[in-house]
Symmetry: C2
């Protein structure tokens, strides 16, 4: 039984320095890392990681991408993507085919099983989001999203939502 228990702790939980709690970047960093870790745990229970979800989601939007493009778009290293695709291919969720016009390139595409797995991933993410944002109502979530998106898009073009 530790201090994070739901029961009233014998010793009151010490608060973080006000200075930190008042800082937007501190909260952003802490929450961001926390949500990432929770996501990793959730995906791991199904034998995957969050990156696998990103790859499948990207492939569904624009089929037949080369590995280089997938890696650059998602912001993962090309060498890292190899292992992710191996994992997905072994489970029959994606297919790799050499581009006949340039046999260095691999054209990656989603299989039917890949689409079904993507649906499962979406359910997982919805659950995670509902749990993590539990104290916020719909309006607040929309506001939070708007502010985060504005911040992200300012730093990185890839976040700009095109019409």
């Amino acid at each position: 039984m530790n201090a994070t228990s739901l029961e009233t702790p014998a010793v009151p939980v010490e608060c973080l320095p006000r200075e930190l709690v008042k800082s937007v970047v501190f909260l952003l960093g802490r929450l961001g890392v926390a949500v990432k870790m929770e996501a990793i745990e959730e995906f791991e229970q199904e034998g995957f990681g969050p990156w696998h979800y990103g790859v499948l989601a990207l492939l569904e939007e624009g089929a037949r991408q080369t590995q280089g493009k997938i890696a650059d778009t998602l912001g993962v290293d090309r060498s890292q993507l190899v292992g992710l695709l191996d994992h997905l291919e072994e489970r029959g969720l994606v297919e790799r085919r050499r581009d006949p016009n340039d046999r260095r390139r691999q054209m990656v595409s989603l299989t039917a099983a890949g689409h079904r797995q993507l649906a499962r991933f979406r359910k997982l993410v919805r659950r995670l989001e509902d749990e993590f944002l539990a104290p916020l109502n719909e309006d607040e979530r929309a506001t939070l999203h708007k502010l985060l998106l504005k911040t992200a898009a300012h730093r990185d073009q890839r976040y700009v939502l095109t019409a």
Copy 2:
């Protein structure tokens, strides 16, 4: 010159999947990790890490903490805190004194130099925050803070701002 350059890129930057960009938890995770990495870089240039700032900020609020209390409050492992305090003590920013009533305990307190370093850390964090939240005005930053705090406090008592 890479694709993240400010110039108009020859090849248009591929967008992330809309599905991801529309997810609050995805943005939160990405931005959180990004701001953490930027903070680490900034602190590193002064020969420290973000944790050192947390320790100094905590010590200023409530002096003469034991190491266990500091570690639990900040959420770092006790064994990790040892190295952080070594680093700070070598530079004369904190002092460790054995508690005469229980010689297992170390009482840690801030020195005058520690206070001055804390002031420098604060300037660094203000700069980081201004840079990271550049696209948001004062009202938006306040709203973002409110929403993040509400989310964090719901998950972890240590974030509850006491009057």
